[in-house]
Symmetry: C2
């Protein structure tokens, strides 16, 4: 089963477009984890179990693990999702990009070492830098298009032939890089107009949409501008607003409630 | 001592512009490492010792370590360079880029966990994605501008106001992002005309120049087009052509000879 088919099945069968981002920051963990030598794994495992029924995907962000030297916890976490929540794909959010011979090693990192179902990738180095990811037809490649951060426009909005750069990226991905049908695009929730424009360019290509929750994107605007004809096509990602919904003993229940609330908000506008 | 001052001192005192890239691929190691459980560290250590006198910097490429789960070897390797070859800076080649709150964790990965003196960064997400690196004034930030790979032009050569995107990146870095004077640029050796154009835009900002050696860039064209007025300003990077100069027992001598030869070629045109 490919990433794309797994994702589509999950959208339909679980009725949710929520992608739960896993961005561990031990300083924000509940007190019970203070003495836990395996806190990074244990906290994320609890969040995964609490939110799985509301999740169309899990998205661990690798910098949060790497800064802690917690590669082993990341590998065990992804294996835990596969073993305990089959049918929910894992997107490794690493935004890698390098020349082709090096990109092979990044593909190996994501897909072989960590067994991720999909990976995020940066398009600045061009097609050959993404090709080793694209070649893994059973895995997903989520290419940065229009990101959710304040500086996104510095390069992405520069006009090329009268249209912003991110639209050219969208076009390249949809028309040239998506031969295996395994591409998605990152388009931030903070820019609803851009979501609509990119949707018009790329048809049914799924979007990973960061920026709701802590970054302030509006759910109705996201869904109405970016959904596909069948009311799916989106992985609406929320990390901090779910993970750290409570710093008390009710952290898992609070995370579940936050994920459920986001699912319900999204479904109101599908 | 900042990265930039360390680099300038090294250029002057050692008389070399060679950056030795450390891209471990165990399948290419000499036979003696086949039974060595610590081969990734040991091979790189031998290369470092053999080539240090010809090196202005060392540049470990992190994907090659990550695909092998060899983070510990990478950390020990960087510590080894600092302890045994002080005065030679280490550039962690990771080409990271993410929203500001995540980029903080990448800065922590590079500068705190690995104690690298500089890091490579991808500009596609804009200034706030690079800011946590820029804020570390004692460390170097090497921003991708015009890369050496075949697909580099897919985005980097698109025309914005009549000039290719990579020239806008060069301008932003030199005029807006370089407040601490800690920025450098990646400009590939495979495109001599671009080297000249970027040099004209950015003045004395150093270049990391990959693409000589295995990728075929011409040393004379690189140096004559990209050097600064004092005959420095360049880290000419070679990885595979040095590391794997011989797969026999003479691997260290062969690596030293390849590094020396590159140093001498470069110095002929400074």
């Amino acid at each position: 089963m490919t990433f794309m088919q797994t994702l589509r099945d999950r959208w339909q069968q679980a009725g949710t477009l929520v992608c739960v981002g896993l961005d561990p920051e031990p300083a924000k963990f509940p007190a019970r984890f203070a003495a836990d030598a395996d806190a990074v794994f244990a906290f994320n495992r609890d969040i995964v179990d609490a939110t799985a029924q509301y999740a169309c995907a899990f998205k661990p962000q690798i910098a949060h693990f790497a800064a802690l030297g917690a590669e082993d916890a990341l590998a065990r976490l992804i294996a835990y999702v596969h073993a305990n929540h089959p049918g929910i794909p894992v997107i490794l959010d690493s935004k890698r990009g390098d020349i082709g011979s090096t990109a092979q090693h990044y593909a190996s990192e994501a897909f072989d070492r960590y067994a991720a179902d999909a990976v995020t990738a940066n398009p600045y180095l061009g097609r050959d830098s993404v090709q080793p990811f694209l070649d893994r037809a059973d895995r997903g490649v989520v290419v940065l298009c229009r990101t959710s951060n304040p500086g996104a426009g510095d390069l992405q909005d520069l006009l090329v032939d009268g249209r912003p750069l991110y639209q050219h990226v969208a076009e390249k991905v949809a028309r040239e890089w998506n031969g295996h049908g395994n591409c998605s695009l990152v388009v931030g929730a903070t820019w609803p107009a851009q979501l609509r424009e990119v949707r018009a360019i790329v048809g049914e290509v799924p979007f990973l949409v960061p920026g709701v929750g802590a970054q302030g994107g509006d759910v109705e605007a996201v869904v109405s501008n970016a959904k596909t004809a069948d009311g799916t096509g989106l992985m609406v990602s929320s990390s901090r607003a779910i993970l750290y919904a409570s710093s008390g003993e009710d952290y898992a229940d609070a995370a579940a409630a936050a994920a459920k609330s986001l699912r319900d908000q999204i479904n109101r506008y599908r």
